[in-house]
């Protein structure tokens, strides 16, 4: 690509043609404040905070969207630029409630950050409340339009990353606000509860429905036997909440922290991830042998399940009937585990720590009560667990190390890679290959299904049968594959779909901020963790083997079906108003 040179605040630098002023400034070590800009999304140039002055131009231009031209002279610090940014920020702040100490994003708020950067000490404009009502309808997501700064990152995310478009702008001018179609509660829209909007919200206008108090009440109740399961992806991210660089693994410190919080047992969702591979792998083999619906679609990601129920209900027979690892765990905690240790299932309080907000919705699904009790009682996001730890003074990076409890804490490397896009596929192939060929898999790392591209494909030879697999992450990409299935042009046997970009490591319950760079570091940490395991194939998990022997019987057998499998419901995109 052609190189061009520009001068920024007197510093001459060379950049490739097409570079934005924002990126060029970064290269020149100049930080330009932004609010509506997000590295995952195309610039919308709405907040006007990143304006710069370009010699010969009568207007200021937004650095996020304006491309450098050869010889351009840019000022990021002129008096006009400084005051223009200040004006934009004063205007935004004057519509923001400034109840920082009561806000979930206190300390991680981009509006606070830029106000600090620009040295805002007073505001000439009086506070005027923004329009829009607090929306508590969802089991997963709270929307508080009063805090919104109209950066549109949530709208873009919902539309471009997820192809859901459950939110958009209402009204115009001074009274514009972000709302659902027809002003319905977000629960009555096709919102899939993925929480990607939360990850990209610069302020506290979007956040998860909190289960913190619910969990504290259980922990404080001596009658309750409180167990927690931790999802694969949380262990590579929680350290970010404590100020560490993304990609830092603190699994054992996290386990110690959870024990300090008072959980009676700290278990691992990885255990049921291995179990999922056994169940789902056998389901796939069954479909291949008996001519069942193909391609088979994975079912671990609850945001994805919501998506297909809303948008492609006709394809539901393609979805594996396996519950997600979270729900398999919940079912076993109140049956197998309770029986084995002589605990009354009504006293078991089952908590999960998830990178996900849709897991809260999933746990609330009425069909998820195999034990006769709700399988999972509370779902904490990675962020909420960090809040609880901080509440009692746990400094995670400085915690000692502890191990997961037996038996539901035993797992393999195949389970931990569930956290990455392509991980379920890779884990399944590791097992299915050996089950079918009865030969050991030489190269256990199936790199064809790894990576960050939206859709990836691979073919594996199973004793003469070629199995064609595809992997999609992000629902926009998933939609492309589903459209192909509908059109009859998808010749795959097995498709893994994760609702969130990068898979669970990029989930809506993970530490904020998120970006491709951050997700890549978490992904790498997951693969590092996999390599550290001695056992790296799900069917080698001894605790899972024992579970079948002691309790379940055969994979896909009667008991397994009763506890570990589920069914799906076609949903309309908009729920009718409830009868008056």
């Amino acid at each position: 690509m052609k190189s061009i040179s520009v001068t920024i605040d007197g510093t001459r630098i060379t950049v490739p043609e097409g570079t934005t002023v924002l990126d060029a400034a970064k290269k020149a070590q100049i930080k330009i404040p932004t609010l509506c800009y997000h590295p995952d999304l195309p610039p919308v140039s709405a907040c006007r905070l990143c304006v710069v002055e370009i010699a010969g131009d009568r207007l200021l231009r937004t650095a996020c969207s304006w491309q450098c031209r050869d010889g351009m002279e840019i000022s990021t610090k002129s008096a006009l630029v400084r005051d223009s940014r200040k004006m934009a920020l004063e205007l935004l702040l004057s519509r923001h409630p400034m109840k920082c100490t009561e806000c979930v994003r206190n300390g991680s708020c981009e509006l606070q950050d830029v106000a600090d950067l620009l040295g805002i000490r007073e505001n000439p404009f009086e506070y005027r409340e923004r329009k829009g009502e607090l929306d508590l309808s969802s089991a997963s997501i709270v929307r508080d339009p009063s805090k919104c700064i109209l950066c549109r990152r949530c709208i873009q995310t919902c539309e471009m990353v997820q192809s859901v478009s459950a939110i958009g702008l209402e009204g115009r001018g001074y009274d514009v606000w972000v709302d659902t179609p027809f002003g319905k509660g977000i629960a009555d829209t096709p919102c899939v509860s993925c929480g990607q909007c939360i990850d990209r919200c610069p302020v506290g206008a979007l956040y998860e429905t909190s289960h913190v108090d619910r969990v504290w009440r259980a922990l404080d109740n001596p009658q309750k036997h409180v167990v927690i399961q931790t999802a694969p992806a949380v262990r590579v991210a929680i350290s970010e909440e404590f100020g560490l660089e993304p990609g830092k693994l603190t699994t054992k410190q996290m386990v110690a922290g959870l024990k300090r919080l008072g959980f009676d047992r700290v278990f691992d969702t990885n255990f049921t991830a291995d179990l999922t591979i056994i169940e789902e792998g056998h389901e796939l083999l069954g479909r291949l042998k008996k001519g069942g619906k193909l391609p088979m679609l994975t079912s671990c990601s609850p945001g994805w399940i919501n998506f297909i129920e809303h948008f492609f209900p006709e394809l539901l027979p393609h979805v594996s009937s396996c519950k997600s690892p979270q729900q398999m765990f919940g079912a076993l905690a109140k049956t197998y585990y309770a029986q084995k240790f002589g605990i009354d299932p009504k006293d078991v309080f089952s908590v999960s720590m998830m990178p996900c907000t849709a897991k809260k919705y999933e746990a609330d699904r009425p069909e998820m009560n195999a034990s006769g009790y709700q399988d999972v009682d509370a779902v904490l996001t990675t962020r909420e667990v960090a809040v609880m730890m901080k509440q009692i003074g746990i400094d995670l990076p400085n915690m000692h190390e502890e191990e997961y409890d037996d038996p539901l804490g035993v797992s393999t490397g195949a389970a931990v890679i569930f956290g990455n896009t392509g991980g379920v596929m890779e884990a399944a192939l590791r097992t299915v290959y050996e089950v079918v060929t009865e030969k050991p898999l030489d190269d256990i790392e199936i790199t064809a299904v790894r990576g960050m591209e939206g859709i990836r494909e691979a073919e594996i030879d199973l004793a003469g049968t070629k199995v064609k697999a595809a992997v999609a992450n992000g629902l926009y990409n998933a939609r492309q594959l589903l459209d192909k299935i509908v059109a009859g042009t998808a010749d795959y046997h097995f498709i893994e779909i994760m609702a969130c970009p990068g898979g669970c490591i990029g989930g809506g319950g993970q530490p904020i901020p998120t970006s491709q760079e951050i997700r890549a570091k978490r992904t790498e940490a997951i693969y590092t963790e996999d390599r550290a395991y001695e056992l790296r194939k799900s069917h080698e998990n001894p605790a899972v083997q024992l579970l079948y022997k002691e309790f379940l019987g055969e994979p896909n057998g009667h008991k397994a079906h009763e506890l570990l499998h589920t069914h799906y419901t076609a949903k309309s995109q908009y729920q009718p108003d409830s009868a008056a």
Partner: protein, 533 residues
Amino acid sequence: MHRIHVIIAMDPHTIAQGARSIKDALVKNIDLAGLNQDVRVVETGSLGIYNKGVVLVVFPDGIYYTGVKLEDVSEIVSEHLVKGRVVTRLRYSEIPEESRAEEKAPRFGKQVRVVLKNAGMIDPESIEEYIAQDGYEAFGKALTELTPKDVLKIVTDSGMLGRGGAFFPTGMKWGFAAREKSDEKYIICNADEGEPGTFKDRLILEGDPHAVLEGMCLAGYAIGAHMGYVYIRGEYHMSIARVRRAIEQAKKQGLLGKNIFGSGFDFDIQVREGAGAYICGEETALIESIEGKRGEPRDKPPFPPSVGLWGKPTIVNNVETLATVPQILLKGGDWYKSLGTESTPGTKVFTLVGNINNPGLIEVPLGITLREIIYDIGQGIPNGRGFKLAQLGGTTGGILTSEHLDLPLDIINLRSVEAGLGSGAMLVVDDTHNVVELVQNFAEFFNHESCGKCTLCREGTGRLVELLHKLTSGCGSEKDIDLIERLAGHMMKSAFCGLGQAAPVPILGCLRYFRDDFIAMAQQNQQRVPVSA
């Protein structure tokens, strides 16, 4: 063969004054008088005469009657049409008695009718009448004698500048799109006329819709587009109906459709109705709206001639621009340049409104002065009051004061005083008005019409209303004036699109020339005596 034509203006204003029943009565009375072979009644668009009730013109005499009532009809028929005696009491009052030909009267004298040459003269619902006035001749000439490059060259050489308000060279814009390689390109006629006080596009569409269609055909031919859209403000019911009818007629005549006159050129036109948002007059917001999205501006670049409707090269031209194009093709660029000034050739259609004796639609050659428009064409300011300011170009227009009365109006001269020609409204304000109330009114308009996309416009327009209201209600201070000035200045420099950048222009203009009005408002507050201690 009809000996006499009676033209009756049918625009929403005259219709409200009973033009329809008057037309029916005319036809009936003409029949009764046995004149139906001699006299033809023709409906036309606005004649550019406002606040004067129902307007008729009797040709070939060229006699204008205004304020015509139902009871006057039989007299006009029996006196004028039968006996040839003019009904003097109904004659257009601004015309001096000694002048027989209305065209020589001041109201028309300084006007030059290029865009409006047919408006008010022909039946806009008849393609035959348009064709009889050389209509579609330019298009025919282009298809048979000229290459698309020739058409582009003629328009470029004419020096024509777009009449939507920005005065961007039309030929250059077309050239950008012509150079793009694309399987599809589009021509959009921007008829989303939303400036308060501006209604010239409406009257062009109502009075001469085929001229606009022909301009679109020529633009399409020049750049290689095969589809055109006329995006018309939704409230313009009559414009919409007349354009739709004109499209049907053109299709029937083979002037639109596939392989037009065997030339191999395909071109079709459809109407799109706006839904009431002012911002959709901004070209990229208009494109978003046609695409079915929320009307909001796009980031530029890329500009529509490269990436426009559905991502394809697109020309968005104003109604007046397109209506002028056929005549440039017929009469040549030199003829066009002979009108107007060197920097700004041609004529400009204005709607002259406000404190003016003779408001209405006018067309003047550029280079004319404000004084000529206000005092000659507009017949001055009512009740002998003094001139305070004129605002050119609707609510976003710059402010001109008495020091600019003799400034020849063209883009260079206006730019030098931080104003522009704008889209076509000319608001005249007399010296009894306080400008703070005036700009508060503008600010309220923009607050209502801001799309809400960027911080400066969304929040800024709202805050301007708030601060101006503070002043006009006697609660303001000079600090508020400073804040208004600071905010307005930043909006002009940093708002996302033309709306937010232009909204503060009249406020800054008024602050520049009439700061004392603002200070007087602020001091009202200080002079107020507290009711109790």
